[in-house]
């Protein structure tokens, strides 16, 4: 017997690659943005469309990730003192290692 696929209509979800995704959490709600408490794959309070229009921030050296818009807004306030809102360490963007490990 030979099975030939003529056409395949499949359904998939997209996920942000935060480098720390737990494959076992595939069907869970996923991690939330520490600033707005909305899941990463949702969108920040000032956006209506998720995904490319409301991307994630770069990974901080402290390993925290936020909606980019949330983080920019936070950093823009005087009170932030340019610190990560989760751990109050100076915000420094980390090198992305994800791509190198994958490819």
């Amino acid at each position: 017997m030979k099975v030939v696929i003529k056409n395949w209509h499949a359904i998939a979800q997209w996920r942000w690659d935060t480098g720390s995704n737990d494959p076992d959490d595939a069907d869970g709600e996923g991690d939330v943005c520490g600033i707005c408490r909305v899941p990463y794959e949702g969108c920040c309070p000032s956006c209506k469309m998720p995904g490319d229009d409301c991307p994630l921030s770069a990974l901080g050296e402290c390993s925290h990730v936020f909606h980019m818009h949330c983080l920019l807004q936070w950093i823009g306030t005087a009170a932030s003192k340019q610190q990560c809102p989760m751990d109050r360490r100076q915000w420094v963007t980390a090198e992305r290692k994800v791509d190198s490990t994958r490819s």
């Binding site: 017997m1 030979k2 099975v3 030939v4 696929i5 003529k6 056409n7 395949w8 209509h9 499949a10 359904i11 998939a12 979800q13 997209w14 996920r15 942000w16 690659d17 995704n21 595939a26 069907d27 709600e29 996923g30 899941p39 794959e41 949702g42 209506k48 469309m49 998720p50 995904g51 490319d52 991307p55 994630l56 791509d99 994958r102």
Partner: protein, 759 residues
């Protein structure tokens, strides 16, 4: 003992009496002439038998002179008394005629004998009537005595005969060739026939005082005549206005008739008009009442017929303004709804359709909406209890694509949902609520159909959720990338439900666009048979989850696609929902090729059969991942049905590289009954036809939800039960069918619950 005084009194009286009778004439000549006058007058007045044909010769001059003498002697009262006494002795003659003619009527039931009797009584009346010179007192005393006797002798059956006779005057009044009995006995004389053949009858009734005595009977004849005409001309006729033609008919046919009983004394047209005014208004009221009663009885079917029945509804509106039948209308419609609509056998879609028609129809009849409020209440409560109501409304909102029978009128402007409002008394257009509005009635109820339907529920959130589910299902089923219809739907829904409520649907649509763009990009790098719809989680309704891994070449293709995706979108990864979607396959076997479009799980299983050709269910499940057993069996059944797999006795599935010799025989052809008749008759017996019918019903039962059969689908007169419409299948019919099915052993019943008998 007579005293002297008493004797003197008697003498004085006698002298007075003598003087009066003698009238101061010389000697006793006065007394003599009085005596002659008395005998002439009494002879003239004596009631004679009509059968006595000997001509009675009276010198009218002598008669008048005699009456004059008697009058001057103040003897008229005495004369009248004498006349009435004579009359009493002769009354048996009239009684005899009445009895004869009434028994003729009673034997035949023909009102013409009543007419003859009436004319005969007129003859008696005229023959015995004193001359007018005797004055009003005498004439009216005579009339009273005559009528008192006649009415005391007439048997009870006269009323019904007289009623029939009156009824016949309706057609008689404009008859061009009336039967001869209508003319009375005088018709034998040379006389031009009257303009209206019924006039002699009316004159006779009047003479005998029948019009006064039977006044209410005559009105009831007219009421019944009106009722019969309304029922005959208007029943089931809803497509054209009927009230106006009815009023024309009244003016043309009934009003002219009314002149005889109700305006006989009129000398001018204006006088007649004013005499007819009050009775005419009563009869017009009766027209409205009869029509309104009729339409009330028909209201449920009129609503089904809407908009073809628009005219009937407008008539009803006009009638209700004249006759207060609103309470009856509400009661009747509520009862009909309960009996014909709000029962478990009716489809939710049908209930909604009828509810929408009720909304439209009652708004015509009663624009303020009081009737609608009262009728709608039980329907809304019933719909609220039904699990699939929201789904039905939503399906209709987005057009379910099957039929044009959407609840929403396409001509109705799309507008935002209207919420209930609090009454605003500062509004210059504010009006007090109609008098029969109940305490719950709210004037500012939403007026468009969709708002009304949505307002069955306290919040619109349920609708939005259901909308999202429906749209998600639709969008995920789209394989050709054409979702323009859904885009248009969402635009319309945004107007109704507001942008915010539809925001997630916007994301769904954008996911569709993005998926298409991504796929174009991926295909340009590596041509793959896989075309996924990539969705944003959190923005789609929860989807069924299951964890299994597509085997073999499927996994390979998925991985290739995911790699291309990540190359295109470096910050994203793909997460497959393996059980969703459809796969179109071609299975090449030794002796045949099978094409099929199957769900992914079925595809996964058949892929495994290319590794080895015999698997148990457990082996397959273990290989794929976590799958519940019933899903696995269903997926396998797909291939068994297609003749690719075969289940053997050890609950193993085996690949059929060559087609099974016995075919999929056991599935398609039922075992033949042992005693098949060699020469079946060409025409089915009734019993056979019923059995055939049963099969159709049975198919319907199985097609639908077997536990909740759709009553409306059971039509004995259609091939395809789905063509049946309307609510004419009663719960009794369903019961009969289920009972028949039970006899056939197809279902069992226990404690009133029917169950399919699955062997």
């Amino acid at each position: 003992m007579a005293t002297t005084a008493l004797t003197a009194q008697i003498v004085l009286k006698w002298q007075n009496s003598f003087a009066r009778l003698n009238r101061g004439q010389p000697g006793i000549s006065g007394l003599l002439s009085f005596s002659e006058a008395w005998s002439i007058a009494t002879a003239f007045l004596r009631p004679r038998d009509l059968a006595d044909t000997t001509p009675s010769e009276h010198n009218m001059q002598d008669v008048r002179a005699s009456f004059d003498i008697l009058s001057r002697s103040k003897m008229l009262p005495m004369l009248l008394e004498n006349f009435l006494e004579d009359m009493r002795k002769q009354l048996y003659l009239i009684t005899r005629d009445i009895n004869t003619m009434m028994s003729q009527y009673e034997n035949t039931g023909d009102p013409q004998y009543i007419a003859s009797l009436v004319y005969r009584l007129v003859e008696w009346f005229q023959a015995w009537s004193p001359i007018p010179e005797l004055g009003y007192t005498v004439i009216s005393a005579y009339k009273l005595a005559f009528q008192t006797h006649v009415f005391s002798v007439l048997p009870p059956s006269f009323s019904s005969g007289f009623k029939d006779l009156i009824a016949s005057t309706f057609t008689l009044s404009y008859s061009t060739s009336p039967p001869s009995w209508t003319m009375g006995p005088s018709s034998s004389e040379v006389k031009t026939p009257p303009v209206r053949p019924d006039i002699p009858l009316w004159t006779a009734y009047d003479t005998l005082g029948l019009l006064d005595r039977y006044e209410s009977l005559i009105s009831s004849v007219c009421y019944e005549h009106i009722e019969a005409h309304v029922l005959e001309t208007c029943t089931g006729k809803w497509g054209e206005p009927m009230l106006a033609p009815l009023r024309e008919w009244m003016a043309d046919k009934v009003v002219p008739w009314m002149i005889m009983p109700y305006a006989r004394g009129a000398r001018t047209a204006a006088e007649a008009q004013s005499m007819l005014q009050s009775v005419g208004s009563r009869f017009d009221f009766h027209v409205c009442k009869t029509l309104s009663d009729l339409r009330t009885r028909e209201i449920f079917d009129i609503i089904i017929d809407y908009p073809d029945s628009l005219s009937a509804l407008q008539d009803l509106k006009e009638c209700l303004q004249r006759v207060d039948q609103r309470t009856q209308l509400v009661a009747t419609l509520r009862k009909a709804n309960k009996r014909r609509l709000l029962h478990p056998g009716a489809d939710t879609k049908d209930i909604l359709t009828q509810y929408v028609s009720i909304i439209r129809c009652l708004r015509i009849v009663d624009p303020p909406g009081v009737l609608l409020f009262k009728v709608a209440d039980p329907i809304r409560r019933y719909l609220r209890e039904r699990a699939d109501t929201i789904r039905c409304i939503v399906a209709s909102l987005v057009g379910d694509g099957e039929s044009g029978d959407s609840l929403v009128d396409e001509n109705e402007p799309i507008q935002p949902l209207q919420q209930m409002q609090v009454e605003d008394y500062t509004d210059p257009n504010w009006e007090p609520e109609p008098i029969d509005a109940g305490p719950d009635f709210r004037t500012n109820r939403p007026s468009d159909v969709i708002s009304t339907l949505v307002s069955i529920y306290d919040s619109k959130d349920l609708f939005v959720k259901e909308l999202q589910v429906l749209l998600a299902q639709r969008l995920l089923a789209i394989t050709d990338g054409n979702y323009e219809r859904e885009r248009r739907n969402i635009e319309i829904l945004k107007i109704r439900f507001g942008e915010a409520a539809l925001q997630v649907c916007e994301v769904m649509l954008r996911d569709m666009t993005d998926s298409k763009r991504i796929d174009q990009h991926v295909q340009s790098h590596e041509s793959l048979v896989l075309h996924p719809t990539i969705i944003s989680r959190h923005f789609w309704p929860p989807l069924q989850t299951s964890k299994f891994i597509m085997p073999g070449q499927f996994k390979q293709i998925q991985d290739n696609y995911a790699k291309e995706f990540t190359a295109f979108k470096p910050d994203k990864r793909l997460h497959w929902l393996p059980h969703l979607g459809t796969i179109s396959l071609e299975i090449t076997l030794q002796d045949r090729t099978v094409s099929a479009e199957v769900p992914p799980l079925a595809a996964a299983f058949i892929e495994l059969f290319s590794e080895k050709d015999t698997w148990t269910v457990d082996e397959l499940v273990n290989k794929i991942g976590s799958i519940d057993r019933s899903s696995a069996l269903k997926a396998l059944a797909t291939w068994v049905d297609l003749g690719v797999l075969k289940e053997d006795d050890n609950s193993q599935y085996k690949l059929l590289e060559t087609a099974d010799a016995s075919g999929s025989g056991s599935r398609t052809a039922a075992p033949r009954p042992a005693n098949i008749m060699e020469d079946a008759p060409a025409v089915l017996t009734v019993q056979q036809q019923q059995a055939e019918q049963m099969k159709v019903y049975w198919k319907v039962l199985h097609r639908g939800n077997a536990h909740k059969p759709r009553v409306t689908e059971f039509g004995p007169d259609t091939d395809d039960a789905e063509d049946c419409s309307g609510y004419d299948r009663t719960i009794e019919q369903l019961g009969a069918f289920m009972e028949a099915a039970r006899r056939e052993g197809l279902v069992t019943v226990k404690d009133g619950v029917w169950k399919l008998n699955r062997q």
